[in-house]
Structures are given as structure tokens and as C-alpha cells.
Symmetry: C2
Subunit: 382 residues, 2 copies
């Protein structure tokens, strides 16, 4: 069914049935495995989406900014892991939430930060601390066999106002995998390395912390979660072209798209011009190294049917350039000026962040209204 | 001087003295050349910045979204060119402004759009129309020698409610130049091609439209503006690494930066981790094809002094990975946890759009307050 006619383009569409299907599939998987999910809200940044996760059993959360923590706490969520390394100057915002009973946990991976937190004034209950583990040299974190892991764990454990709560890892290198077998192997590496870190801490005579791991690919394809206490993932709610190219989802599962209008035809360049460019889509080119590179996105019609031979070959700030993948001439009569296409984005986290609002539709394209997103970093004031 | 201590990172810094210097330099140049500037507000998206342009003589404007047009009109600006191809469904928003006397002009480059506008109900004064000319196969537009240019010009000219006002071009391929001589040549190509289009229209017996051209590189380096009626440019107000690598500015002229905190050290990866990642910086990699590629940005200290050996080698959503350009080991004691760096972004338009607010500082780092940005696309309601 066509999408609501009165939407101003470009805008972000959220397909509610696909969203719920994706959320339910992951929730069901981990209910069966018997490990709780701690959904990562960095992709959705929306209380309405979090509520659907809660309806499917989620009761703990991950965020990527303190603004998200403040926003979700204002809407009643508790037990929130702020999964980006804390620094002392950000403690006040955490403490302000914890005094209200939100129970925000933080993460760190340097002795300098551990010492600073150990000597900081932290009121309210003891602050739960996760140590970040580097499982694949992707981002940051401590290797399980290095001496400073134990030194940091001991520093946190010994501090009156801190609780050594967990070790956590994000197997981000799974994003570089070129086969499902490779992702499975990375999931196992993520699991075993993080469990090893927890074991090393226990062997040093410190109470064993919980084990938190996750990324959408490793959560979807991991075979064993032995020793894992909880799994974090976020993109799975929406999915995107990158995940589809990895093979962990399909283009028909994508819950977000950017609705764009055809604003010009450039027959001499064999191009349709859309009003969604680098700002509305992001300039994410993660797919560049994937076999099924689609430039800046695949295209679907208003009914959601993918048009496999079209690709977004380039973007300027407010222009998107669509051409054919095989060089065939575009039939411009199929795409008159003012007709609309859905752009399936490479990377849902980046594309969604260009928009303040989701325009939510059901499976029949009926408008269900707008849901707000909480972008940015500054303190949230309701 | 260090920047204000109480800023929450990551955040967007606007150095007011540099901004004014950049605006003044371009205004002075075109006052001397004798061609009016029509500043493009797509980069700044701020009435406070537009006011500085006005103080230096600007009295006409370019925007890239109707939301910008509505916002700037609400703050008193008139004579605004919406420089992205219009489509009929967007006419209502244009007419609503023009009924209030804002005088928004539109652009198009297809016969289909020209005919649709010719038969549309347009109240208020006749709608000023620019025809977009393709000077370098960069984006869209009509070639000056093609028959449909005249057909479209005639259609617009003949329509009661339309005024064929101008031809316009954006020499965007100047962004791909690898020498100043190449940019100069592209400026001349932009000028001569657009003038040729205006001449072709006159030769067909239609009143000659005005000639509007521009991009920051061609505006800064063009030698002749003969036959040009006005020049559009926007990035020059802020400048960025891309423009510096082109050679049209220097890193010391950059008026915006992202202030970020060091949140972790990863000595085993020779990395500083900052709290500014892909969302705070954008994933723009325009510099990738330039000789002086800097990954996702160069780094400067709080005083604005560039640290030439550091580069942002990678980003995740909320993490930025800084390493040395020559492989030398980072002296981590120079960058303790919580210390702050300024990231000089590749592409000011993309980076600024990740933020709602400028934190404005003077040359001594004194906080001058916050200026709002007008991101997004939906209708602006004051």
C-alpha cells in the first residue's frame, strides 16, 4: 500500500510491523537460550520502541549517551548501562539519575579512570562498574591476559562507593566478516574472551563479575552463550543494508527507510535525483567493503518492494543520485517528478540520527503518528 | 586560551572571530569585484550567522531546505533562493511564504516540472524561477546547448504566474580538483557555461535571465566574473579540512570544531579514544581522495593549535579513534583522561548538522552563549 500522501519528504519512516517482528525474533531467541537481553537503545533512541522491547520481556537497557539515559529514565526505565567509557566530569549526570533510583551503570578500561572514580564523591547507592574487554582489537578495552585488567578490577573492587559489577565486550569486528561462519567464529571469540576476563578476575581473588557481550551479528549467530550473563544488541530492531549484506537479515526485514521524492531527471547522466542526500541518509559507506555494495542505499517503492537494479550512487547535501546497477537506461516514465521512493539505508543508526521524528506506519501504510527520537548529547530536560 | 570548562562534550564550537574574518574576506572580495554575494545558509543554518553576513552587505540568500526558508523568513530575511529542484507538492510551502512578501525563488531543470508549475495555482506575486545548468556533470541541470533548455525557458516565460528570473549553476566538481589551477579552470567553466545558457535563451527570443553561480572554491579562486549577476557560496563562512586540503583556506581559518574529551587510552592500539564518533563528526570521508587525507579529521588542542601528527583514524557511533600519522607512539601523559581536544572536521556542512546548537566563543575562549541551528526538513513553526 502507498505511504501517507501528506508526508513531507525527506522523512524517516518506521514500519511498525517489521519493528515488532524483529524485536520479537531476538527476544524469543534469547528466551529460548535462557540469557537475558539488554537491548541497546542507541539505534532507536525512542521510548516507544523501548516499550515494545519491554512488552517482549526486556527489563534492562543499554545506552550510548547520557542524554539517552536521562530521557529514558524520565520515561520510567531503570537498570541502564551507559556503554561508553565514563570520565569523571560526567559523573554528576550519572549521580543525579542514581539519586532518583535509576541505577545507571558505567564502564571503563583505564587505571586512571578507575582511580579517579574510586576517589570521587558518589552519593546514592554504590556505582555499578563494568570493565570493557577488547575481544577483537576493534574499539577499546582491556585484554583478558594483561596485568592492568587485574589492577583495575582490584581498584574498583576496593573502592567503597564502587561495585565491580561486570565485564563487557562488543564484538564489533563481526561487522567486517564476509561469511556467516566467520561471524559465528567471532561470536565465540567474543564470548570466550570475555568469559576468560571474568575468570581471570576471579582467579585473582576478586568476586567474579557478570559477563555482558553483544553486537547484532554475534547475538544473531552465536552458537554458545555459556558463561554469558546478558547480551546487548540494538540494530536488530531496525536492521539495515549492512546487516542484510552480512547475511544476518534480509531487505524485507528493514523497519526504517527514508521516504524521498523524485525531484529531477538527468537523462544525460542516467540519473534520478531524489530529495534525500547526505544529510537525510548520512554519509555512511560501511557497505563499501562488502560484496553487495549499494553506494548510499538500495531503493524500494512505496509498497516496500525492493527495486533491485537501482542504487544510490552518490549524494550531495540535499541531493541523492540514483542510477542502475547494471548500466541499463532508466525508464523515467516509471518515476515521474514527485513520485516517491523509499531509501533503505546502509547503517540504520547513522541514518535515523539525521531525523528527530519517526513517521510510523502499519503494514498497510496507514499513518500511526509520530514518535520522537532523542538525538544529541546535552542534558535532557523533559 | 582554554575553552569554557563547563561545556558538555561532544559539542559544536563556533569561533566567532574566525567566522567574522571568513565572512568579511568573501564580502570584501566580491564588493571589489562588483558582483553581489547571495550567501548559502545551508552550512550555518543560523540566523545569528546570517546577521553577520548582512552586516557585511548581504541582502539576498540561498537555502537548501524549505525549513530553512521558513525559519529565516520568520527572522526577517527576504529574497531567498531555494536552490534544490522544486516539485509541485512543495509549492504550498513556497506560496505561504510569498503571500507574506518573503519572495522565495525556486529552481528546476525538467520540462515536466516547468509544465506542472505553469498550470499550478500560484497566488501572490509571480514566482521567480531559476533554471539549473549543468556545468560539470556533477549534480543535475541542463546543458546550455540542449534543445530542452529553450523549451523549458519558453514554458516558464509563457506562464502567467511564473517569471523566468535566472539561470544558476553550482560548480561542484571543483571539489575534486587537485590544484589551484584546476579550480581556477573550473570556475571559468562554471562562469562561461552558465553565461552561455543565458545567452542561448536570449538568442531564442526570450528575455535574458540573470546568471547565478557558485561554490566556495570557485568563488574564492575565480578570476573573471564577467556576465555573472550574483555568486552563491556557504562553506567559506566556516571552512573545513576539505577546503584546506584543496588549498583555498588553512586549518587556522576554521570557525567550527567539535570539542571532545579523551575518554580512554588504548596503548596496545596506540590510540586515544574520544567521545566524538560518527554521530558527532559525521561519516564524511570526502578527504579520502585528497593527498592530505586525515581520516575523520585533524586534531587541535583547546587553544586551537593544530597537533599535526594526530589524526582521527576511525569512528564508531560514539567513539573516535585518534592515532599518530607517522606511527610514532602516543605520549599518553600529554592527553590524560578527561582532557579535551578540538576535532577539525572534514566537511563543515555535515558535521555541523549533527548538532542543534553552536557554543560560541571569542578569540580568548570566552563563552558568548549558544546559537541555534535549524536542522531537518519539516515545516518550521516558530
Amino acid at each position: 500500500m502507498p505511504l501517507p500522501a501528506d508526508l513531507e519528504t525527506p522523512c524517516l519512516i518506521l514500519h511498525r510491523d517489521r519493528l515488532e517482528r524483529n524485536i520479537k525474533a531476538m527476544a524469543d531467541r534469547f528466551r529460548e537460550i535462557g540469557v537475558p537481553l539488554r537491548p541497546h537503545l542507541k539505534t532507536a533512541k525512542s521510548i516507544d520502541v523501548a516499550r515494545i522491547c519491554a512488552e517482549h520481556g526486556a527489563d534492562r537497557w543499554t545506552v550510548s549517551t547520557l542524554r539517552e539515559a536521562e530521557y529514558f529514565a524520565a520515561h520510567g526505565l531503570t537498570d541502564i548501562l551507559y556503554a561508553v567509557s565514563i570520565i569523571p566530569s560526567k559523573l554528576d549526570r550519572v549521580s543525579a539519575l542514581n539519586r532518583k533510583g535509576v541505577d545507571v551503570a558505567v564502564c571503563l578500561d583505564t587505571l586512571e579512570t578507575a582511580r579517579a572514580l574510586a576517589s570521587a564523591t558518589i552519593d546514592g547507592p554504590p556505582l555499578r562498574v563494568f570493565l570493557e574487554i577488547d575481544v577483537d582489537r576493534h574499539r577499546t578495552g582491556l585484554r583478558p591476559d594483561e596485568a592492568r585488567l587485574i589492577e583495575i578490577a582490584q581498584t574498583v573492587h576496593d573502592a567503597d562507593r564502587l561495585q565491580l559489577f561486570g565485564v563487557m565486550a562488543h564484538g564489533g569486528e563481526s561487522y567486517s566478516a564476509n561469511s556467516l561462519a566467520k561471524i559465528e567464529a567471532m561470536a565465540e571469540q567474543e564470548r570466550s574472551t570475555t568469559v576468560a576476563a571474568a575468570d581471570a578476575i576471579r582467579e585473582a581473588g576478586i568476586p567474579r563479575p557478570i559477563v555482558s557481550v553483544g553486537s547484532t551479528p554475534t547475538a544473531q549467530l552465536g552458537r554458545s552463550f555459556d558463561g554469558v550473563s546478558e547480551v546487548r544488541a540494538g540494530v536488530y530492531m531496525f536492521q539495515d543494508v549492512f546487516q542484510a549484506n552480512l547475511g544476518v537479515t534480509t531487505l524485507d526485514d528493514m523497519a526504517v527507510s527514508v521516504l524521498a521524492s523524485v525531484i529531477s531527471h538527468a537523462p544525460h547522466l542516467n540519473r534520478l535525483i531524489l530529495d534525500a542526500g547526505g544529510l537525510a541518509l548520512s554519509k555512511d559507506r560501511s557497505c563499501a567493503t562488502q560484496e553487495n555494495d549499494c553506494g548510499y542505499g538500495f531503493l524500494a517503492d512505496e509498497d516496500g518492494k525492493v527495486i533491485p537494479n537501482l542504487t544510490m550512487e552518490g549524494v550531495s547535501q540535499e541531493h541523492g543520485y540514483v542510477t542502475t546497477r547494471d548500466g541499463q537506461e532508466i525508464d523515467f516514465t516509471r518515476f515521474p517528478i514527485g513520485s516517491r521512493l523509499q531509501v533503505l539505508a546502509n547503517h540504520a543508526c547513522m541514518t535515523a540520527a539525521a531525523h528527530d521524528t519517526y513517521h510510523v506506519v502499519d503494514g498497510q501504510g496507514v499513518n500511526l503518528g509520530e514518535w520522537r527520537r532523542i538525538n544529541g548529547w546535552n542534558t535532557y530536560n523533559k
